[in-house]
């Protein structure tokens, strides 16, 4: 496997060298067109539910969201933000010849932003798919080949079982930058071998905070929880509510039940189902806790306010928090990626949440729709691939 892949990598790097003089807008146009083709790939939509352990309805909901992020205007804005006005009309600045993207398996379609960012950085891209989505990356490469074969030739997609040290080392060894998304064990295994070439994205979670509740907020949070069956780092695991947390918990439980009709949960392992069951069973013993368990998920109204991630499967804690400005104190640094907000002045939270490692603030209901410009891990999306240092970034979506 590795010999053939190494040859593919050599060919991709050579293709990248041939393309270097073209303006970025050509790349942007090709990526946007490929995203539309990928979105409409019926074979992919048919096969992805089984591979990703998500319901067909869920796949139908999240495929357009993933494609939408590769919007031409948004990509243009991104390159101009990082490389200055007119960047889209120029060739890409000097950067790595090959970027490797090792994807996690918790969420499907991670290949799209991974490939797009690599291409926008002017690199050839090796994408190692996650175990539960070996389909999206090759499907996107096929779509890209249909609109821009030269750009598609700079992309290599592969899947191998993590931990095959010899071949993994040979493949990742070719890359100047290796972006790894995954669990602690994956990162611990790769970090010593990759050194400062590694850009690591470890396990993270998200929360929402509601100061003045508006009609529809419970539905919006339920959507954020349900999308991807709460498996992503942007999935909220806790909601902090300034007034009537108990009532909000009831409304959220009802909204989750309704959401389960629209977006049915995918199949879950006995280990995961047991974990969720035990989480609810244990919560019952916390002082003042009220548990609502139904087909839509589990809502735990809990007085204690320290953030603890749940075990997933649409399980959310709702905590009373009279003053939302106290939220950052409840989060351990580096634990939370995104904060969904409702009725909160984002400006009052930005400095302290940035210090806690949060990279995104957005309205509830939008948490699972990060743009390509999302500074994941507080890193500039393109600058991180070029090794450019920057102040920790936080993006606020109005």
């Amino acid at each position: 496997m590795s010999a053939a892949l190494l040859a593919c990598l050599d060919a991709a790097v050579a293709a990248r060298a041939r393309r270097r003089r073209r303006p970025l807008r050509d790349t942007i146009a090709a990526l946007a067109a490929a995203a539309e083709r990928w979105r409409d790939d019926e074979a992919l939509r048919a096969e992805l539910p089984t591979a990703a352990h998500l319901s067909p309805e869920m796949i139908a909901a999240i495929v357009p969201i993933a494609a939408e992020a590769l919007d031409a205007a948004a990509m243009t804005e991104l390159v101009e933000r990082e490389w200055g006005a007119g960047a889209a009309a120029r060739p890409v600045p000097d950067g790595p010849a090959l970027v490797a993207q090792v994807l996690a398996s918790n969420v499907p379609a991670l290949a799209l932003p991974a490939i797009a960012l690599g291409c926008l950085a002017g690199a050839a891209v090796l994408v190692k798919s996650g175990r539960d989505d070996p389909l999206s990356a090759p499907a996107f490469q096929r779509a890209l080949a249909a609109v821009d074969p030269e750009l598609a030739a700079t992309v290599v997609t592969a899947y191998w079982r993590g931990g095959a040290v010899a071949s993994e080392g040979a493949l990742l060894g070719r890359a100047q930058v290796v972006v790894v998304s995954g669990g602690d064990a994956t990162l611990a295994a790769l970090a010593p071998r990759l050194g400062d070439r590694l850009v690591a994205h470890g396990p993270r979670w998200s929360v929402a905070v509601i100061s003045r509740e508006s009609p529809g907020d419970a539905d919006a949070v339920a959507l954020d929880v349900a999308l991807h069956d709460q498996r992503g780092c942007l999935s909220p695991h806790a909601v902090y509510v300034a007034t009537d947390a108990r009532g909000f918990a009831e409304r959220l439980a009802a909204a989750l039940a309704a959401m389960a009709e629209r977006l049915p949960p995918g199949p879950a392992s006995v280990e995961a189902r047991a974990g969720a069951r035990l989480e609810a069973a244990e919560a019952e013993w916390a002082p003042g806790a009220v548990i609502s368990r139904g087909p839509g998920g589990i809502v735990i109204h809990e007085i204690a306010d320290t953030f603890r991630p749940t075990r997933g499967l649409r399980t959310v804690r709702v905590h009373p928090l009279p003053d939302p400005r106290a939220l950052p104190e409840l989060l351990r640094a580096g634990q939370v990626e995104c904060v969904g907000i409702a009725g909160v002045d984002a400006a009052t939270l930005v400095p302290t949440l940035r210090a806690r490692g949060v990279s995104r603030l957005c309205p509830v209901g939008r948490m699972q729709r990060p743009p390509l410009s999302w500074p994941r891990g507080q890193l500039p999306p393109l600058g991180a691939l070029l090794g450019r240092s920057a102040e920790p970034l936080i993006e606020v979506e109005p």
Binding site: S269, V270, E271, A272, R273, A274, G275, A276, R277, L278, E279, A281, E282, E284, W285, A286, R311, G312
Partner: protein, 360 residues
């Protein structure tokens, strides 16, 4: 005579060959006792509308999650002992604690099970414990059991785990002496300690042939181990490095929250003419285990995987029905097979006794 004393006597009698306590009547009596004496458990049952008046079968007695032992004092009276789970994260406050008001009942159950499944031949062997002594871990239910085994079922007890972990040199010396004299030994310890012993033996190219009828009892599984060791691999090491054949290697499954234990069926089967029966974890008659669907908590179809829910009459002093964090399936008519743990459950259990001692 208290209920606990009566049950203790019945279990001791069963250990001497009398019929075992009749499970269902005892289960209902014990539930009524716990409902009356254990306030947090009574509140838990009341929230479900369950009282002794409307429970007609042992399967209907409400189960508490083992995590509840971290949150509440689930005892029917002042404890004679408090046992705590082992674990490497969270500190003592987050560890489960089992308050045992009647230590004699735990002793009776533990010894009867050990005698039946580990020493069916009635041999009294020197017991070498690969766990910390009670002075180091007075709150370990496994250590307490080893003390009792040493006193009641063995020809003395020796401890081979100190403040710095497994005392390998001393243990190797003791094994050398036993091998030279042909003495049979009873080795009891956490699986991780045996794995350390095996690693040392391999590193020094040292293997022992312990006396016939020597046996190994291990517990704790993979927890706390620095490298994977499969069950067949463990049994292979017992044979090649200690000279103890697989049918004398008995795995124990226990929980701090339970006063009874399950054991590998292998030795009991061998002594009762069932040598071809598959290995499974079996229990004395006063411990029953159901395999439950995590979503519904209804029993799964035979052979399917689910959460293990234990009903231990010997837990009469606290709560008898405990929903564990372990996954398993039914094996044969009387046993279970352990499959793993529920997602997101923190490491815990006696397998971490060594890890607790050794700063990482």
């Amino acid at each position: 005579m208290t209920l606990e004393a009566e049950l203790t006597a019945a279990i001791e009698d069963a250990g001497r060959g009398a019929p075992a306590p009749d499970f269902e009547p005892w289960a209902l009596r014990v539930f009524a006792h716990q409902f009356e004496q254990n306030a947090p458990y009574r509140a838990f049952c009341a929230r479900r509308g369950v009282t002794p008046a409307n429970v007609g079968h042992w399967e209907d007695v409400p189960a508490v999650p083992s995590a509840a032992f971290r949150r509440a004092d689930l005892a029917c009276g002042p404890p004679e002992a408090i046992f705590r789970t082992s674990g490497t994260t969270g500190g003592a406050d987050t560890r489960g604690h089992h308050r045992v008001p009647h230590l004699a009942l735990y002793r009776a159950s533990a010894l009867a099970g050990f005698a039946r499944f580990v020493l069916p031949d009635g041999f009294r062997l020197p017991c070498l414990c690969l766990v910390p002594p009670p002075a180091l871990r007075p709150d370990s239910s496994l250590v307490q059991m080893c003390v009792w085994v040493g006193e009641a079922l063995a020809a003395g007890v020796e401890w081979f785990v100190g403040e710095r972990g497994l005392e390998t040199e001393r243990l190797l010396g003791r094994l050398t002496a036993a091998e030279a004299s042909g003495e049979a030994l009873l080795l009891v310890g956490v699986t991780a300690a045996f794995a350390q012993l095996f690693d040392t033996c391999r590193a020094r190219a040292r293997a022992f042939r312990l006396g016939p009828a020597s046996r190994v009892v291990d517990t704790g599984g993979m927890k706390g181990m620095t490298r994977p060791l499969s069950r067949p691999g463990f049994l292979h090491e017992c044979w090649t490095l200690l000279g103890v054949p697989g049918y004398y290697c008995v795995n124990e499954y226990g929980m701090t929250e339970l006063c009874s234990q399950r054991y590998d069926s292998v030795l009991d089967d061998r002594f009762h003419g069932r040598s071809l029966a598959p290995r499974r974890l079996v229990a004395p008659p006063w411990l029953r285990t159901r395999v439950l669907d995590p979503d519904t908590l209804a029993p799964v179809v035979p052979g399917a995987a689910g959460l293990l829910c234990h009903h231990d009459l010997a837990n009469a002093g606290s709560v008898s029905v405990v929903l564990s964090e372990d996954l398993g399936r039914a094996a044969g008519d009387d046993g279970i097979e352990l499959l793993g743990r529920a997602s997101g459950t923190p490491p815990r259990g006696c397998g971490l006794l060594l890890a607790d001692l050794e700063p990482s």
